[in-house]
């Protein structure tokens, strides 16, 4: 291969030219859900997913994938398979009203974190924690406790707290120099005037 980018020419050869092998089945890493707290005192909200081999790696990769440019004080991740999801609703129907009553389950209660979707197209927002034996019970409890503050919500998530990889107190250092890294954001590059000039020039020619 001959590229204008010298790095491309240095890449190690993989396979044989012209020989295309079928892709192995299930060769992708699993996904983890990422939740970010933009400021102290603000609720965590869902930001997206990362692919990773385990929870710790997901945490590490999420830090740069989701908080390399925007304000952040803390983040946490959980395996997508550990997110229990309610039915999704629309219009004036709240997902809370679609939950089945699940109470007094046998077993030991554990902490669950509860998230609601306040608007279609928005992110899930953390609303609190409840003690329950099953995720279904956790959701029902969240409804009884009115964690959604009586508002219509379109979807509810419950994640067992033990399945979440949180930011430790000492890891909060991770975002120490972030406010100085404005160069990582497009807004730091003032191209507006140059663009205007360019557009004016292209109009006249």
């Amino acid at each position: 291969m001959n590229s204008l980018d010298p790095r491309v020419n240095r890449l190690p050869a993989i396979g044989q030219p012209g020989q295309i092998l079928p892709k192995a089945a299930l060769d992708q890493l699993g996904t983890f859900e990422v939740f970010v707290q933009p400021k102290d005192g603000k609720a965590f909200q869902h930001e997206g997913i990362v692919h990773a081999a385990n929870r710790d790696l997901a945490f590490v990769l999420a830090k740069e994938a989701f908080t390399r440019r925007f304000l952040c004080t803390s983040l946490f991740v959980a395996d997508t398979r550990h997110v229990y999801v309610s039915p999704t609703t629309e219009g004036n129907t709240s997902a809370m009203d679609q939950l089945a009553e699940v109470i007094n389950q046998p077993g030991t209660a554990e902490a669950y974190d509860i998230f609601v979707l306040p608007k279609r197209g928005k992110q899930h927002v953390h609303v609190g924690q409840v003690q329950a034996v099953l995720p279904q019970e956790a959701m029902w409890k969240a409804k009884q406790l009115n964690l959604h503050q009586g508002k219509v919500v379109y979807n509810v998530w419950a994640i067992r707290t033990a399945d979440i990889r949180f930011t430790t107190e000492e890891e909060k250092d991770l975002w120490l120099t972030l406010p100085e890294k404005k160069f990582r954001d497009a807004s730091d590059y003032k191209g507006g005037d140059k663009l205007k000039e360019f557009l004016e020039r292209s109009k006249t020619t």
Binding site: R10, A53, R68, L174
Partner: protein, 251 residues
């Protein structure tokens, strides 16, 4: 405190970080998965930022502007260790080098938090969050791949064995070693090397990798006095290509 001794440690740190940052930035766009590509590129950017801050301290001590120092010297004027200039190979190689270098780098900055040279101590306090991330990133990958499959363990082990003599070159003693210690600039390369070996072994003990026998290695020295491998000059040529077209350009 003589400026010569201080400049020596600032130059070797700054050159390590610039060359390492540039080398790692070569992975941008080619990382093994998108998320890792972003993380590795971000860390490379952090390293170059840290080197810029150190060149700025040197500038305050009478050296030339950071850009001039970074882009106009030849290989024999660079004080980086040879570990950081080696060309990338496959990802395991870069990952193991990242682990070996960043473990030492974080410990070095940690020592500098107590430095009697205040500007350096202040800079050390400022960059500690970045270093925490860099070591967390390196350790998490080494723990995962160092215990995952026969292939991943074998690859990491081979890179580890190959890089061991170069890694020891990070601790090449300075002619000002005793003075830097006496003046409490930092605790010196010997103390750093001992602490580094412990930290490396602590992480490797949580994997199926074997720590190289440090006593039988011949350290690859010379980098600190400008004796480099044939790989540094091409890196510098590529890094400064745009700068050299128009050194006076305003960005």
């Amino acid at each position: 405190m003589s400026n010569l001794a201080l400049k020596e440690i600032l130059y070797k740190m700054a050159d390590d970080l610039l060359v390492f940052g540039h080398r790692n930035s070569e992975w941008t766009g080619f990382g093994p998965l998108l998320e890792e590509d972003i993380a590795f590129s971000s860390m490379a950017q952090d390293k170059i930022g840290q080197s810029q801050a150190l060149y700025q301290l040197l500038h305050q001590l009478g050296e030339q502007e950071p850009d001039t120092v970074a882009f106009t010297r030849n290989a024999n004027q660079f004080h980086n260790c040879t570990l950081v200039e080696l060309p990338n190979r496959e990802y395991d190689f870069s990952l193991v080098r990242h682990f070996l270098f960043d473990t030492a780098d974080a410990l070095r900055w940690q020592m500098l938090m107590q430095s009697s040279y205040t500007p350096l101590a202040q800079l050390a306090a400022k960059v500690r969050g970045e270093l925490r991330y860099h070591t967390l990133h390196a350790n998490t990958w080494i723990k995962q791949l160092g215990s995952a499959t026969e292939e991943s363990i074998g690859r990491l082990q081979q890179s580890l064995n190959e890089l061991a003599p170069y890694a020891l070159g990070m601790f090449e003693r300075s002619p000002y070693e005793d003075q830097l210690i006496a003046d409490q600039i930092y605790e010196g390369e010997k103390a750093l090397e001992a602490r580094w070996q412990q930290a490396i072994e602590k992480t490797l003990a949580q994997t199926q990798l074997t720590s190289p026998d440090w006593k039988i290695q011949t350290p690859h020295l010379g980098g600190r006095v400008g004796e480099h491998t044939e790989h540094l000059q091409p890196l510098l040529d590529e890094m400064s290509e745009v700068f050299r077209i128009d050194p006076g350009a305003e960005w």
